[in-house]
Amino acid sequence: MVEGLLQPLNIFLLGLGGGFLIPLLHRLSKRLPATAFWVSLAGMTLVSGVCLWRLLGGADAFEIRTAGTAPPLAISLRLGLAEGFFAFCVNLAALLGAWQLWPRLRDSYTFLLLFLILVMGINGMIMTRDLFNLFVFLEIVSIGTYGLFGLGQTPAAVAGAFKYIMATVLASSFFLLGAALLYHVTGTLSIDEMVMRRDLIAGPVGLTALVLVLSCLIVELKPFPANGWGLDVYETAPAGVAALVSVGVSAGVFFALFKLMPLFAAHLTLIAFSAAVTFLLSNLVGLRQTNVQRMLGCSSIAQMALLVLALALLLRQGADDALALVVGGLFFSHLFAKAGLFWLAGAVRRERIRDWNVLAAGPSFLLVFCCLLVAIAGLPPFPGFWAKWELVLRLAREGGYAWIAVVLMGSLLEAAYLFRWFGRAIKAGRRDTGGPLSHGRLFPAAACVALLVMGGGVAASAAGITSLWVYTPLAAGGLLVAAEGLPGRAKCGLMLLAVAVLGVWMAQGTGGINGLFATLLLSGGLVIAAAGLYRRDARPGYYPLMAVLLLSIVALLRASTSLEFFFAWELVTLASFFMLALAPAARGVVLQYLLFSLASAFVLLVGLAVAASATGTTSLSSFLAAGPVAAPAFVLIALGCMVKIGVIGVHVWLPAAYARADDDFSAMLSAVVGKVAVFGLFMAAYLATRAEAGLELARIVGWIGMLTTVVAALLALQQADMKRMLAYSSLSQTGYIVTAVALISHLGWVTALYLVANHLMVKGILFLAAAAVIERTGLRRLEACGGLARRMPLTFSVAVIALVSMSGLPPLAGFGGKWLLLSAMMERGWYGPLALGILATLVGLLYMVRFGHAVFLGPLKPERGAVREAPAALLVPQFVLVAGILLLSFFTKLFMDPVSAAIDPQFASTLVWQGMSLELIYAYWNPARAMAGAVGLALVGAVVLWLSYRIGRRPSQSGGLARFFRYYRPLLAPVLASHAERFWDAVSVVFGAAAGAARRVYGGNGQTYAIQVLAYVLVLYFFVVAYPLLQSR
């Protein structure tokens, strides 16, 4: 009996029977229709769920014969694994959607029956194996949609519905004609039989029939540019209905396309091309949208196009085994994330993007909102991430780089407008125009997040994640979210404890360079994170994110496959992005930060995919055996890391982010997070040592590094804001490290690690010192400070130590680092970069002197008389870091031996290295020669500058260091007018203009839309029928 109730056919009985019964029940009692509705809908979901469960357990696909007769005589349906998955997902989404839409649905029993039969229709589209029956279900779905559009009361909603009807009626008429003609040429309507006889589909009649069916399905998926009618409906329909169209109806149509794909086997490239155009341009158009639902509509159309693109490309290269993960993952991600966002939009009831600041009021809304955005953008830990990874990997294997570029470019555009929306949503302080938000309405969207998390887990294991430790960061973050009610300092303490315990546990698995980085970054991260104790406020979200950030860094260093690596990399990106967004001041720059980070991640992703296709595995250790084929991988990984490092040209995001983040978080960003990209660069260099082609490129990277150093130093000199100056200084110092890594020699790498350690401590101290100054005085402008040395002597002394160590003056660590670098460059004969290095040392001296002088020396402003020393919570981490500097400076061997040992095996085979210990090297190369020369030259330069300043300045003005800098800054300005910023501004303007141009096709007139649909059909006709025919003549 139970067995009989759980047959897939019952989905239809429940849908239709329930639908037919509802008016009858309405006559009996006003409440019964609602009961029947929920019972039927839940029953459909249950049946599909149980069937899917059985199929997953290995049961055979359910074959349903109607009329007790086998196809082709009678209509048959099938519920296999794919069908079961799609049907269950759609039913689940429908169940949640009905909950969301309930306040509107219950107005009239008509809506209940329409909704129910519509959902049944989608199930029918998924299950049927008969072409004409597919048409009938398509019409059931269409009519149901038309009816539900009636929920929209505004004239615009009615007009949008009418345009939608016009376009879809044309499409389905073509399907009808195509199906009948296909019967004419093949003599069957059964899809299975038709696929077997597809050779018969030829000649003008057969091909026309085929193109008519294909174009109906493509048009129903709303291809660019023939999709204005779809956008209008997304914009004007009630959010719940728009969600149903976006995920339910599209899912049915997509599955129909999937089912018929064997018929279109010869036209996969055409389908992929159409989908690629739609994906790119819909996302482009999304950039200019101001209405939330219209923007979500753009994203929805783009996501469906991505699904079609992935399907067509994977089928084309015969990678059927990847379909489950890629198509299934992308579908699941789109289904629940998009529906969730539409429902959230419905719950928030703000039409315009700019009104969305209301979200700042409700933390649970904000959390759900963020999760859904992350899921849509294809970021971890959600299914879309794993699916995109697998897709890119598969495409790289067949050399489909153009397609990869399309996928990633479109994803970047999508992230741009979705996270711009996020940026608006978190802007606080504006007038709230609506009433309070009820949490009950959040439930469907929150359920989507839960489902997405679960789906992410499944997709991860399908993608090849076998070890559970990669989830440690997220688990720790989740646990800390549960403790959000505690006071800020307690939360900070808990976070430090969790990171220390879990971090040390995770770092156990690392060795070599990874181990060194892990030790360095984990301990440095903990020390700097401890500075968070100086803040008394609750900082909602900050500490869980900090735990995610630090533990992801450790996870990244422990990763043994490129997938784990990339997963952790994206987590670092996300965690730092959201932490940055927590600072009100940074909200204007978070988008820029995210986009550059994502661009970097995407380039990295392609690099990893190329490497994986070169070696045939994702194991990082196999990179050792990669050989010259991996050369492009090296270039791409290095490129990705350099974007993330912010080398000159792509640096524009960095100073803004560092300067505007929370003061203690700036220290973390500069000292710890920035080093992750350096580690990535190490990995690239490591790959390069295997692929001989990389060595020449290393020279270019070396130049880039030194140019970054010089230009960033000059820019640092120009800054008036102390954190901005430190940000540029950080960039400048990282440039040295880039060059050191690019040397690809033992000495270079020892230097790089040495500099990493030095810079971590130095920048940690300086940013914390800046935090202390800002905390005590509220000042950020260098010129406004002064004389604080007397009020904050401890801060002053640690800052001086840090400045000396950074400048490379003896006897502190920076001296050793710089000396090593200059020697290594001499060794390789890189005289050009060497000269730049010396110039940078000079400029570095200047800005460091300026920083120390402007903040701490000079006369104390009278109104600052009451300034106290920095809080202990800020000082103690700085002391620890100072201790680190001293250790590094005077017990170099403690550090150098493990470093040398870690690097040694990697060079044993490829590069000349005589196994000399560091003392020998010191002795072999005369330290005086290089370093004294460099510092000497720098000092001479400084003196020359000073003299020219003394001569050049007008006699009436008094002297002083402050005036010296004021004299030179305008002198440098024309040289430094940031071309990069102007360039990237122009890029954004160009994209905006392109988006504006692209959306001109949406004239708003239903007839224009109809012409576009028909023209689209004609274009497909041309490529499928006319062009081959003309060619064969």
């Binding site: 004409f132 009938v136 019409e139 269409s142 009519i143 038309y146 009816g147 004239p155 615009a156 009615v158 007009a159 949008g160 519905a161 009418f162 345009k163 009807i165 016009m166 009626v169 044309l170 008429s173 009808l176 004609l177 199906a179 009948a180 003609l181 019967y183 004419h184 309507l189 204005g228 956008l231 209008d232 914009e235 004007t236 200019r288 959306r999 001109r1000 949406y1002 004239g1003 708003g1004 007139n1005 239903g1006 007839q1007 109809a1010 012409i1011 028909l1014």
Partner: protein, 122 residues
């Protein structure tokens, strides 16, 4: 004997479709557009029926005029006829929905010109 009968029917259906298409694309009045859609649909149905014709065939009803044994030789293909019944009903349904939307549109703007409903764009 000139064109076979089904050819004639097919061409009629296709021409009707084109006329309907023209009506949909050119007329401003929504009611005329709906008539265009109706014509387009009817044309489709005629084409479908035409493709079911078998040379010299008669209606597939087994009776005195068409004994069961001769059905295979003298009946037209019953499938397109069966399909077209369904298609006609669906076409009717779609027309009904469009007409109700037309009434709603008129109620909203007091006009039936399709150009009056273009505020959603870009």
């Amino acid at each position: 004997m000139g064109l076979p009968i089904s050819h004639l029917l097919l061409v009629t259906g296709l021409v009707l479709m084109l006329i309907g298409m023209w009506g949909v694309l050119v007329h401003r009045n929504i009611l005329r557009i709906i008539i265009g859609f109706s014509l387009f649909g009817t044309g489709t149905h005629i084409v479908i029926v035409a493709t079911g014709y078998v040379t010299g065939g008669t209606a597939p009803i087994i009776d005195a005029a068409l004994p069961a044994g001769a059905a295979g030789a003298r009946a037209v293909d019953p499938i397109p006829s069966a399909l077209v019944v369904t298609a006609i009903v669906i076409g009717f349904s779609v027309t009904a929905v469009m007409l109700s939307y037309a009434i709603r549109l008129y109620a909203a703007r007091k006009t039936l010109s399709i150009d009056a409903f273009t505020e959603q764009k870009w």
